[in-house]
Symmetry: C2
Subunit: 757 residues, 2 copies
């Protein structure tokens, strides 16, 4: 047994190549003869395309192709997703929508062509629906009259049992969800205090360092499209490319490249377009977005409007919750309204609840996933109200939550029981943090806030293969990609399952030709689901090794153990054989034993939700409204920390991004739907000085089906940060800020308007 590799903070397998700048990104690829594509993006949120003059580009040296919608395959039905809509047909529906493409021998030529082509487009501007409430109103003009089907992203995040309301007639509301229980009227009547508030959150960009980049090459003779791309999900990308371009899946190979930050936004975007261009030109084509393109045509997190009403008895017992969620999906469906509604209403025991959610289309960039999609917004709303209610009733915010939080077996808003969860354990762990115990009195604009939040954890079937090499080393083949350190965890799982030192294990995230099935790296599920397959494949390979060793050592199989890369007879370690020598028995001309090949396929159907409890200390400058987070503590249920350093890194990164949500980040649109924050000069990200030192407490409530008890840890830490900071601001100032980000201006406004609590 490679004892103790589970729970050991080993170095990340991808660390060295990343810190030395050698990791290979899609844009680094040297594909011979590759052309450069640049995309003309609509400057209007809504307009008719009157004319595009390809002639405008004639004479630009190096340009080899100009494409508009009619030049490319339509993929059959009207597209239901951003990625499936290659170029706008006739009308643009958001500022930033791809309208045409110039492809050239060099980047400079493509840029020249782009400028001329963009200037040649004649638009007839039309009224733009920018405000989600106006768009949701009955009788509003339709953003997508021809929309067919549901977006895949909506389906992805809505693998939940929900109660859906039927729409009445055509509408921009493309998805409705409702969770209800009991009788909220009676519940509010039983309450001693009721708090009701409306919250607003902004469009937030995932702001990965690496912009979207993809290279596609088509071989017309082998009828084979190869796409190199920084995707979080190779099979999902392949399915989307094949469907959009009308190819069988065996004709599309998606090769995963290093992801330079994904956070949910690197699933599929430019890949079908790049593929279509490569097929049309029969030469490799590279598409890389500029940073401004990223802001204009990326898939940010949705803005939302959340109305929350919550009541409690004098003793602090919550009685009823009523909420309305409106998520603005932009021009294609895909907003995470179901999961947001479920999480908003899910963390507390409530006899009476009524939560309704809607997704609405507007003339804005279509939204995508961003780390725990929907959860930061929902949690900001509910945790602000819980905090306000606790204060109103004079309860300690920690004790108030401990009294009300759900436990294993309590019903979720959709009626299903909560699986095993460690929410209460996380709150109790946080209670031990110096930041909240003993609760120091705020002084001089300083305050402490707490909040809780979490994530259900994704599920998706996966297979894994383990192949032993003749030198005793191990290849583990998976179909998932590593965006957060999962390969390191998988190597630890394989090492432990096999009894072979972790240094001898290599994880391979294969392309779609070779990889076993796996879901995308999204939903905090790779370690949980693919890890389970790796653990089982490791056990399978270990059984095969023990069978070989037993025959070689002339021992009974139960008497053979594997210790540090050697098979030996229990109690007689000198009777042993190196793993390498066992593998050699299976290799070479005439070898008499089948290869050692461990394989497992799984479909875990039990979720492993993961919750955390956060506390922050802030200092608020009442005059400027500026907020500084000076101290931060997290207690998070991680199931089992396979690699504690990596888990901590996830927590720290999640909190840093949460600080962006809380205080800084917002994509601003004017009334015409035009983006006014198209660069990092206008869009503020947290800097190192905005992020305080953190304390983390890893709570280990083992997941029953996760490998060695592990559960997903990537998404939960971003969830409660904005609420935690909002609650700390309220503690410091008495004022409740009801919108994100809580910019100095918003804080000043809240201070002026507030009557205190």
């Amino acid at each position: 047994m490679a004892s103790g590799v589970i729970g050991r903070s080993i170095r990340r397998v991808d660390g060295e190549e990343k810190v030395t700048g050698r990791a290979k990104f899609a844009d680094d690829l040297g594909v011979r003869g590759a052309l450069y594509g640049r995309i003309v993006l609509s400057p209007y949120a809504h307009a008719r395309i009157r004319r595009i003059s390809k002639d405008a580009v004639r004479g630009v040296a190096g340009v080899v192709g100009v494409f508009v919608a009619g030049d490319l395959p339509s993929g059959g039905a009207a597209p239901s997703s951003r990625a499936g809509s290659l170029l706008a047909r006739g009308e643009v529906r958001y500022a930033g929508e791809p309208v045409a493409v110039v492809v050239a021998e060099t980047e400079a030529a493509a840029q020249d062509g782009l400028e001329r082509l963009a200037a040649s487009v004649e638009y007839e501007p039309l009224d733009a629906l920018v405000d989600p409430e106006a768009a949701a109103a009955p009788g509003a003009p339709l953003v997508q009259p021809d929309l067919s089907g549901k977006s895949a992203e909506a389906l992805l995040h809505a693998a939940l049992r929900t109660e859906e309301e039927d729409a009445q007639g055509p509408s921009n509301v493309t998805s409705r969800v409702r969770f209800s229980r009991g009788d909220v009227g009676r519940g509010f009547a039983e309450a001693a205090t009721v708090v009701s508030r409306r919250f607003r959150t902004s469009v937030v960009h995932q702001s990965y360092i690496e912009p979207h980049a993809t290279v596609a090459e088509y071989d017309p003779y082998a009828r084979r499209l190869t796409v190199w791309t920084a995707t979080q999900g190779v099979f999902y990308a392949r399915e989307s490319i094949a469907a959009t371009l009308g190819l069988p899946e065996t004709s599309v190979r998606v090769v995963p490249m290093t992801v330079g930050g994904g956070f949910g936004a690197k699933i599929v975007l430019l890949e079908p377009l790049a593929g279509a261009l490569a097929m049309a030109l029969r030469r490799p084509v590279r598409l890389t977005l500029t940073r401004m393109d990223e802001f204009r045509t990326g898939t940010p997190a949705p803005q939302s409007i959340l109305d929350v009403k919550l009541g409690a008895r004098r003793d602090g017992t919550l009685t009823a919750l009523q909420a309305r969620l409106l998520f603005d999906a932009g021009a294609f469906p895909g907003a995470p309204v179901s999961i947001a509604a479920l999480l908003l209403a899910g963390a507390y025991r409530l006899d009476h609840l009524d939560v309704r959610g809607q997704e609405v289309l507007t003339h804005k960039a279509p939204v995508g996933a961003y780390r725990a999609p929907g959860a930061p917004q929902a949690t900001f709303a509910i945790e602000s109200v819980v905090d306000e209610l606790a204060r109103a009733l004079g309860h300690d915010p920690i004790e108030f939550r401990l009294r009300n939080v759900v436990q294993t077996g309590d019903p979720m808003p959709n009626g299903e029981p909560w699986p095993k969860i460690g929410l209460r354990d996380a709150v109790e762990a946080l209670r031990k943090d110096p930041l909240v115990r003993p609760r120091r009195r705020a002084h001089g604009g300083e305050g402490v806030g707490v909040a809780i939040g979490g994530w259900l954890g994704g599920l998706e079937p996966a297979s894994a293969c383990i192949r032993m090499n003749t030198d005793g080393s191990v290849h583990v083949l998976v179909g998932s990609v590593d965006i957060s350190g999962t390969s390191t965890a998988l190597s630890q799982i394989a090492s432990q399952a096999l009894g072979i030192p972790v240094e001898q294990v290599r994880i391979v995230s294969a392309d779609t030709d070779g990889a076993p099935a796996a879901g995308m790296a999204g939903g905090s599920k790779i370690t949980y689901t693919v890890g389970a397959a790796v653990q089982a494949a490791g056990a399978d390979a270990r059984r095969q090794l023990i069978r070989l060793a037993a025959s070689r050592l002339e021992a009974a199989e139960p008497d053979v153990e594997i210790v540090d890369g050697r098979a030996q007879v229990r109690g007689a370690p000198s009777r042993g054989v190196a793993i390498a020598d066992l593998v050699k028995m299976t290799s070479g001309f005439g070898a008499a034993h089948p290869p050692v090949f461990g394989v497992a396929s799984q479909a875990i159907t039990h979720r492993a939700p993961a919750f955390g409890a956060h506390a922050a200390r802030v200092r608020v400058d009442a005059e400027s409204g500026r907020v500084r987070v000076t101290e931060y503590a997290v207690a998070q249920d991680v199931g089992r920390a396979i690699n504690p350093a990596a888990v901590r890194a996830q927590i720290h990164g999640g909190v840093a991004q949460g600080i962006g949500w809380a205080l800084l980040e917002r994509m601003d649109y004017d009334d015409a739907g035009t983006l006014s924050t198209g660069s990092f000069a206008d869009y503020a990200l947290p800097r190192a000085t905005d992020v305080p030192m953190m304390r983390d407490r890893l709570v280990e409530v083992a997941a029953e089906h996760g490998p060695y008890g592990a559960k997903g840890v990537g998404e939960p830490p971003v969830v409660p940060v904005a609420a935690t900071i909002g609650n700390a601001i309220a503690d410091a100032t008495g004022a409740r800020v009801d919108r994100l980000p809580m910019t100095p201006a918003a804080v000043v406004a809240a201070l002026r308007g507030s009557t205190g609590t």
Copy 2:
């Protein structure tokens, strides 16, 4: 059931990309920043290297590195193989041995550097051992005094139980084999006629169209060497590279490229050297041989000297065989002497035999494998003698063979019983060919000859994986490469096993990171061994599909069948579901069924030898000695022809190469060991006009362990060709040519020296 796909002549899956010139070869690879290497080859067969002046290359623009042996890793012990010996150390042992390498930014700069560097090397010529008999003599100076271990190639082809003689003291004889049975003295005494002859064969080059080419790239941060190469065996190449460079196997990735002809010679050659250069320079390096390099430093088939003595009773029953084989391995061991000895003595029932074989080192290029290594040489000798004996006794050559050929269960020369074989069936099938029935009398320099020969068939463990895609298509993942049409056969096997149309099946020959284990494409074993794994993996996947379908259709599993890509209830085909819909049940967020992933690992331990019987008509110009093959017929036991067109193509190609062996091909060395045939101007290959139309009869004696009864078909057809043509010449002229190739000069000499039979 995709009925009838086994036995159907479908088009080769790699056909279109090859005939259109789009198949990607290693030299076509556009690896960004790749450097070009050129290798200085020794002009001397044996010499001391006095001095190499790197300064000679200083000043050549574009040269970035010059390397001699001391600059590169030694791989620990003294090398035991050609590939493991990167560059000569101190002494060269064959003309063509790599001495130094120049690496440059361009091919032209590398060539400039090469010329200057080559001119700068000072050699002290030493006596060269060129004649194998002189080298084998006791007391001969040693070619490789430091040789450690056996060559891997020798091991590969010698996975046979043999009786080995011990060497007495240091010698150039690096391998000895002996098969004996009964008492040959008694056997010859019982004979009415005894024929005894000495045969000589020449060094023959595999003459693939594509010269050796390999590109290597090293990432020092990820500690990862990637090698793109046209290898017949990715795992074998990886093991050799890793061992030579001292890397773990997880640090080496071998990516198989299209093989532009291999025939046994594309296993591993330049790969370790390319890897060493890429590691030293930290830039990608490409090594491609020129055609002249190929002749000088390739690994051709060995020359041999074979003494055969065979006796028979008047009734035609063979009584005894005595033979001596001497194979000249060149400067490293690796000649196929065991298999040659076994095949020489194996095809006939003999109570008395004594066969001894030796491999000897000389100062010539080290030999390698070439289609049925050792068999054309051995078969030329034995089948010539059998023919001569039949003539001497006045027997029909077909009947004579039918009386004596081995059948299933007869002992092989090593005492093991022959597994199920179809040798007799093949001879009987040939008997029906118009070429031999009725036997037309030769007239005017025309004659007909027959011969038999075959191949044992290789064995090596293999795994295979089958993954179902969400559109119902299928990926089959194997670790073998396709050098002869095997991917087409594997796609047919998978199609049949799954019940899914063959057009929806794609075979992936993965790189060593992702591939399941498999042996090299050598020994005619890919369809037999990997095909068996694919068939079993297909059955595994089919079971999983049926389980899903049974649950979906609410039927019992035994009632569900798969027909043309659809699962349906037997007898009620309208109750069915598309495979794609079953696969969708296993994919996506929250799917409740594990992925359909068929896997199998096998280690077949039963050989499936394959024999053929050939007949040729020739016309001999007695004056010039020129031989023309005018008609050719082959009957070959192929077990089961998965794809008859592909099997026929193997037969036709094998016969064409055999005509080269028989009449044209020879690498000539002078007494100093210098090659005088370094181009296709000097080395004659068969042209289209040298190859007659052929008739083939596929005999199907099903292999018990092969997929659908298939056995290896690639190597057997080259085996008896030279003997068949030699026997036809004897029939036409009465003269026996005892050496290969049977050039006009050799024929004229035989005619002059012959007394007839």
